[in-house]
Symmetry: C2
Subunit: 327 residues, 2 copies
């Protein structure tokens, strides 16, 4: 391994000068700067992150805990975060808890001593534990509000309400909601916004797993009921619904209106026949990083100096499907 000292020796300067040249070039004479740089180049010098971290107290690492990497929801969130983190010189350490609170806790314990900040999505941590973690290290949560912990949320309420309104205006009298995974907080919120917008009770199917297959199954239950529109928790479910309804002879959107709660598999752009709630997931990931960076870079005496930020992004509706009148 090539060290600062090796470069220093070759360049005929001290290691302190090399260090300065590499981190704050303007503090160094132009001539020596060049000498040092070419020496570093020749030796193929790579700085040692651990040593730097030990000396500065900064690992330049941000941890991101998610309940699943298999779901299509979290990868874009991670992508957004990674993108922004990289721009700021940070790298992202991902931990997939596979929805196991036990595992999540131990992953976070490990992360604490390893990273400068932690991003939490879909956490199962109890409020007090979360607050405790946030006390030890900067934390930002996603779609989860805990006192004194900054968070980023995507507010789907307006979009689901609008969805309800449009269905009502489209003349639909009976509308179904196909719910997401059991125990999902987002699920309940979406349903109540939809109901509020629709102006009357919505018929609920589920909870079910938010998969294509589940959508196909639910279609069989739905078809005979007389509802003329269905709002699915997410895009895969909606696609499954469409498929299932299609095999039962219903044409979308002529005979039946389908809407999706997210656009993660690109269903929105693809299908003018599908109404879709657009969630700015990647942007949310970026925002999460922005918030921790603000906390991290704050030179102020920390504590109350840096106001804990909380951001809420707004989900929007895609354009109408070509026809959305009920049959």
């Amino acid at each position: 391994m090539v060290t600062l000292d090796d470069v220093a020796r070759l360049a005929g300067v001290s290691s302190a000068t090399v260090s300065r040249t590499l981190s704050r070039p303007q503090m160094v004479a132009a001539s020596t700067r060049e000498a040092v740089r070419s020496a570093a180049e020749r030796l193929g010098y790579q700085h040692n992150a651990s040593a730097r971290a030990l000396a500065t107290g900064r690992t330049m690492l941000i941890g991101f805990s998610v309940p699943s990497l298999a779901s299509s929801y979290f990868p874009p969130l991670i992508a957004g975060a990674q993108n922004r983190a990289e721009a700021a010189g940070y790298d992202l350490v991902v931990a997939d808890s596979r929805s196991d609170p036990q595992r999540e806790a131990s992953q976070l314990a490990r992360l604490r001593g390893r990273v400068d900040a932690v991003l939490l999505a879909g956490t199962r941590l109890a409020d007090p534990h979360l607050a405790e973690l946030a006390d030890a290290i900067p934390v930002v949560t996603f779609n989860r509000v805990v006192p004194d912990v900054p968070s980023v949320a995507i507010d789907t309420a307006p979009a689901f309400a609008e969805l309800g309104r449009r269905l009502r205006e489209g003349g639909h009298l009976r509308v179904a909601y196909v719910g997401g995974p059991a125990g999902s907080a987002a699920d309940g919120a979406r349903l109540s916004s939809l109901t509020a917008g629709f102006g009357q009770a919505v018929e609920v199917f589920g909870p079910v797993e938010p998969t294509f297959g589940a959508g196909v199954e639910v279609a069989d239950l739905l078809a005979p009921t007389g509802v003329t529109a269905a709002v699915a928790y997410n895009g895969l479910l909606a696609l499954g619904l469409m498929h299932g309804l299609g095999t039962r002879g219903r044409r979308i959107p002529e005979d039946f209106t389908v809407a999706a709660g997210d656009d993660l598999i690109g269903s929105a752009q693809a299908l003018s026949s599908l109404m879709t709630v657009l969630q700015p997931v990647e942007e949310a990931g970026r925002d999460m990083v922005d918030i921790v960076l603000a906390q991290l870079d704050s030179t102020a005496p920390e504590s109350a100096a840096t106001p804990r930020r909380t951001l809420t992004a707004r989900a929007d509706m895609s354009r109408d499907p070509e026809r959305e009148d009920p049959s």
Copy 2:
């Protein structure tokens, strides 16, 4: 921050003893072990990863570079790797190159000084650069073979060949292949295996983006041609095909047979009407980590001592759809 010394002072021993207690407990008397442990507990001691890394030369970090986190293909690969890495005490640093060779190169340069090993999927790195990287740090590639660099691959050839054979046996005379992204090596291989299995030329549509929407569009091109079966590069495309064909009045699988090149969105379990190539992606991720771990943990004088391993997993066919005779 609580350090070893703090714990040592409270426990009335030296920091060396604390260090030993925490890393190799059996080297320490039971009584002192307990004393140290309770002291560490009381203080809430968390070891500092940077300091440990500097002292041991091990960061306990593995880098994983992927071209995209948005695609549904790589997250499961990462999940498998993360899972295995965690079990071995390692954490995973992810880098999304967004298919930009430039960005990938700079990410890898950063990673080099930060992690103990690098996993590469869908890399755009030229062979020589890749070899150079592998020379500096343990590297494992996915679906990419470079001399002297260990790799993991999923061999889809047998499955696609079998697919071709089954279609032939099912009586299909004209079969379509809907190709994946332009320039994909996997794409060409799949087509030729399919063709070989089918025993005669397959009609190619594409290349197209492997999305649901693209599948819908291709369905319009496909429907009038007289082919009775279509094999899609991946699951989303296949779903799009089914949808598009469905809206044009074709029933699957009664009127038309559709097959998918992967099962990443759970299409296989969901749809008995869809033939699906099952790819052990998560297992591949695990294998990649296993290989680097073997290289890392090898106490032998490295170089030729640890044989560079290469694994090839085999993709398999899902069960037949309920009916696969052509109409």
